[in-house]
Symmetry: C2
Subunit: 431 residues, 2 copies
Amino acid sequence: MKAYHEMSRQELLEEQAALELQFNEIKKKKLKLDMSRGKPSYSQLELSNEMMDVLDSHSYFNDETGTDCRNYGILAGIPEAKRLMGEMSEVGPDDMIIFGNSSLNIMFDTVSRSFTHGVCGATPWHKLDRVKFLCPVPGYDRHFRITEYFGIEMINIPMSETGPDMDLVEQYVQSDPAVKGIWCTPKYSNPQGYSYSDETVRHFAALTPAAEDFRIYWDNAYSIHHLYEDPEEQDVILEILEECRKAGHPDIVFKFISTSKVTFPGSGIAALAASKRNLEDIRKHMAVQTIGHDKMNQLRHVRFFGNLANMQQHMHRHAEILRPKFEAVEETFERELGGLEIGEWTKPKGGYFISFDSLDGCAKAIVAKCAEAGVKLTEAGATYPYGKDPRDRNIRIAPSFPEPQELQRAAAIFVLSTKLVSIQKYLGEMA
Amino acid sequence: MKAYHEMSRQELLEEQAALELQFNEIKKKKLKLDMSRGKPSYSQLELSNEMMDVLDSHSYFNDETGTDCRNYGILAGIPEAKRLMGEMSEVGPDDMIIFGNSSLNIMFDTVSRSFTHGVCGATPWHKLDRVKFLCPVPGYDRHFRITEYFGIEMINIPMSETGPDMDLVEQYVQSDPAVKGIWCTPKYSNPQGYSYSDETVRHFAALTPAAEDFRIYWDNAYSIHHLYEDPEEQDVILEILEECRKAGHPDIVFKFISTSKVTFPGSGIAALAASKRNLEDIRKHMAVQTIGHDKMNQLRHVRFFGNLANMQQHMHRHAEILRPKFEAVEETFERELGGLEIGEWTKPKGGYFISFDSLDGCAKAIVAKCAEAGVKLTEAGATYPYGKDPRDRNIRIAPSFPEPQELQRAAAIFVLSTKLVSIQKYLGEMA
């Protein structure tokens, strides 16, 4: 395949004409396909239906210490839920607080609490002139929205296959006391699917922040969300709490986790892991906010899975559904875009996304072109703070939700759109 | 019965000696009874067990518009949950947002959001020098804790059987722009069990606040929580949203409601009702905080009840369990304290509490005395902001949790303690 940048104006025009015919044919089909969010598909939801059977009117509703889960009480989660979520998160039950149905909500509340009351007794952020967060990019749009919402200044940190640029992170964190946090998706990162190397994790743990209330916001959203069953094909990262403890900085990390993409996205359980000191501080504030979260749903999850091994078995079934989708997208990209040198994409072994980088200045146009043919993508720019991708090239592909046949069509439209927009760019430059 | 204040020193000493014998006998039993919180009893929890049967692995999991409740989506609640909670709250489905499992959490978040971002575009409270809340007293300790947590100055407003002193409320609200809210439990109030009169509700609706962001925090916690089935014996209050609309002030109220004391306290659903403008503002902020609350639990509640009539039937069964407990306490009080003129108590027709006023300066001592004999009460002072009851006389009695026999014992200990502490007071005054 000849790369587009090597083609003559005439070749490009011919290619464009042929592609436009195809595109117009597809447009006529008035498709409506959604690759915008990391949403599990119908078949994945079906995998957890039996969780609805584990509690019925004849169940024993007490937790293992005898507390009736139907009633008020227990602020931080029933012991067996702490143990299960702890196993999932590679920490001990005492390192955890179990919350409601959404880890995003925990992250929001954590930032909100820091804003109103401060972290572990430090000055509340609303009393400071400037608060800054480091944002590895591309990253997760909902993280960025939280910090933007609280008026926190966001600083882009380039990502590589081994994690964020740690020299830059270290420089900011250790020199600027206004830097209070960094958003991380350390495993199968959103959107690239990269997993932080051991060196990166150790570098995080070794940070000596200028701000006493600096924390690493470690969103371990895809901790057991592998696409392949063979351990050789699974990413493994170091456990951050343990590394921070070993480095003598036990308090510098908040770790977030949930079962949103294990059981039901709207009805899972979410948790936070952190040091004793952090958890004590958080519980004190939580006690004003609520009497406790939904313990029946905690019980339901614990009784459904029993232990981590069963949860991992369950994740294999998710993988069987997800893997062909990722592979189908990657194959279409390889077949249709390989050699054209108009885009690069990641090939993750887990998580929910593929990250696509187009030629500079083409992402917005590609997303718009796809929309024209009925394919909804995450808005271009969304993977950057303030929605501003400085090179306008990153697009997040979420292959999970569409059914396989739909996905084929959506991927075909995506490559067609990418080709057309790229040709347009080259023709424009020639003019 | 001779009133204690009419007794001679000799008579009081004799009474004291006799009571102390009784008290010491009871102490030997080493009881452990809890009347501290408005916690449903085991038998009440049993009433909702069948809610655990309505969803199983073979259920249809879509809401009435076809949205799969297992997946992400729907920020503000499924339509049928809005309808049911709307019926329960006497408002329309469009006047509602459904949240998670706790109305306390909604209230906290509402105050927190006002603190960080302001109400409907008004200045965020953290930027103001002073923010004040009016607190009808005695009232609900957890309300007061939220406002105290955010450094909000709390002003006591006396309660009567018809509601707060509305002239005083009006004076504060209409003259001081720092007054941003008032905590209300308008029906079967916590702890007195008073219900606001029509005049009180209309007076609220007619308020023309000095602050544009003043809101009435209307915690309708006991909207359908009657103790008697006969409608004649049930309190009815005017619907506040409607009254505010009629008075031309649709935006001045937030109404909170939940099923915590209808189904399971830890696993109910909670909701907020307010004007279109308020709800739009709230949804905008909510969208940063979460993708959505637990829709499966919403579906579970809707399918369990179907409609308000069934919910009311269900509440009758609660009443059958609760009513004898309230009556037992009231009978013990009447029998043992009647005529002694050392205490007054309320006789609510619904809700979860009885309010007891001892002689001035005796409440803390009575609570301590009860604890000596193994009866745990809500801390004296808790029904006032900052835990400070200026006359040290109010005690909240929560009869719901203990089983009937335990309750008899607890009530006996309470009256014994009250007598002993009152005699002590009189003897002290004579010395």
